[in-house]
Symmetry: C2
Subunit: 294 residues, 2 copies
């Protein structure tokens, strides 16, 4: 099974006249709420500092963006940028959680922030400090009475648990690279896990010895998401378009968003760290494929 | 009593590189919701077609705007523009109503539209057709089991009632110009009436024989808003700044927004049909002045 690129892709491009997003707009989180696709995208000007912009769309394809970012570097942990937002809606609490990566000479730090209006964000704190850790994304509900997040300790996808989104423990490996496969070097989670009757559908990225990024899909157990129920060998998208090959990081496609709207999975992804593309599939189709492929 | 101009005024200016708002940004509606000021502003490029842009702010002073308008002309009634939005939040229904003026060679038409997310708007229909009528604004709750709107049949402020926001009846005069005063030629409602223990606080504009616009304030009876309880003789703001004198319509200050946040009345207004200014006062202060001035 392969995702189908939307013909309007890339659907968001750098805006040359806006300093902060003049060079690159790429990895983005997207949450569907109140009949709208709310996109939070990583943007860079020629200073290569990442800021997070906000755009909104009724159809998921045509986005209207703000002239100023909604999240910018704030302290010494973020001087080089705030990156790769993933947005989880906690329906039970009526609030949104942004998982993003803080970057500075001090290193990279997986951070969480919260909002009730999607515009103003309050920092909660880091998942962990002092190690190479990113690609974290919060599950959309508590599991076993605790918050759960995927994250990435190279080269694998890990999990962690928390009672308050501030203190995290029970760090465990969920899924590692597969030797000889497209995901043989590193893997990292995509967008917010999708709850289905078969399990948590998790899209993820991986790359190989040639540093070519591809997307895959797997299923995690609903009540114990450390358990991988299914993980097909094939990828579901690989670089093919010029704007996926050429850019600031060639052959990098990177997704942090896979909202499901009316039975369709909308996979938004950065193309070569320069533009944002959209590829889709039917939820039923990918679930059928994931559960029966192996 | 006089409103105090915020020193950052004008707080929104035309954006030369955006065609649709390159020349003028002026009359705006502002609703405070979910800890944010949501502004809907009339904008014109050099074609003089009015479109409605959207901007948002946490502090009421610094706004972040979308690159594209949220409401644009749609049919033969709107070919020359959509103008002067006033935004009412119907808390009981969880939805927003925009009162705006449609303009075309067919004339001007006071229109209503609805939204639950402030971004996508669905037209409801006109208050009335075939007459010179605008400056309409919906009360924020039903009164006596019916929706109520102020509107303007020249030269006075009128009222009308409806069960469904589509069919309006019981048209009556509420308030007329006062000979020899600053509001001797025409009057029209400002932003959404503010419910207080003393009555509905209504800000309004008026102009005199020199076509100088000024703002005034009055109180309407809570249960029978056709009854004017108080209406001081003095105005509360008159043109003084260069950007209020000079622009597309000199000496025109025009407000369609007076949200109350933490006890402060935020009066947003178009300055000379070119920029947007902000002036404020304490709600207690203006209420004291309105109720005791006469």
């Amino acid at each position: 099974m392969q995702l189908i690129r939307h013909p309007a892709s890339p659907i968001l491009k750098p805006k040359p006249l806006n300093d902060w997003e003049a060079l690159n707009v790429f990895n983005c989180g997207v949450v569907y709420f109140n009949d709208l696709f709310h996109m939070f995208y990583r943007a860079q000007g020629v200073d290569y500092v990442s800021r997070i912009g906000y755009a909104v769309s009724a159809d998921g394809v045509h986005f209207n963006r703000f002239e100023q970012p909604v999240l910018s570097p704030q302290d010494e942990w973020e001087t080089r940028g705030v990156e790769d937002p993933r947005i989880t809606y906690l329906a039970d609490e009526g609030r949104f959680i942004m998982a993003y990566t803080a970057y500075s000479p001090l290193g990279i730090t997986p951070m969480f922030a919260a909002s009730t209006n999607l515009i103003t964000w309050r920092r909660i704190g880091p998942l962990i400090v002092g190690e190479d850790n990113k690609d974290h994304v919060l599950f959309p509900r508590q599991i076993g009475g605790r918050y759960v997040t995927l994250h990435r300790r190279p080269p694998s996808i890990w999990i962690a648990y928390s009672d308050d989104l501030k203190n995290w423990d029970d760090f465990r490996v969920v899924m590692s690279p597969r030797p000889g496969n497209w995901d043989c070097r590193r893997v990292g989670a995509g967008g917010v896990p999708v709850e289905t009757e078969h399990g948590w559908l998790v899209l993820y990225h991986g790359y190989d010895d040639e540093f070519v990024y591809r997307f895959g899909a797997c299923l995690l157990d609903l009540e114990d998401p450390t358990q991988v129920i299914a993980r097909p060998h094939e990828c579901i998208l690989e670089p093919r378009e010029t704007w996926e090959f050429k850019g600031d990081v060639p052959h990098a496609i990177f997704s942090a968003a896979n909202p499901v709207v009316d039975g369709t999975v909308y996979v938004y992804y950065g193309g070569a760290d320069r533009v944002i593309g959209l590829a889709t599939c039917a939820l039923d189709e990918i679930l059928g494929w994931v559960t029966h492929d192996e």
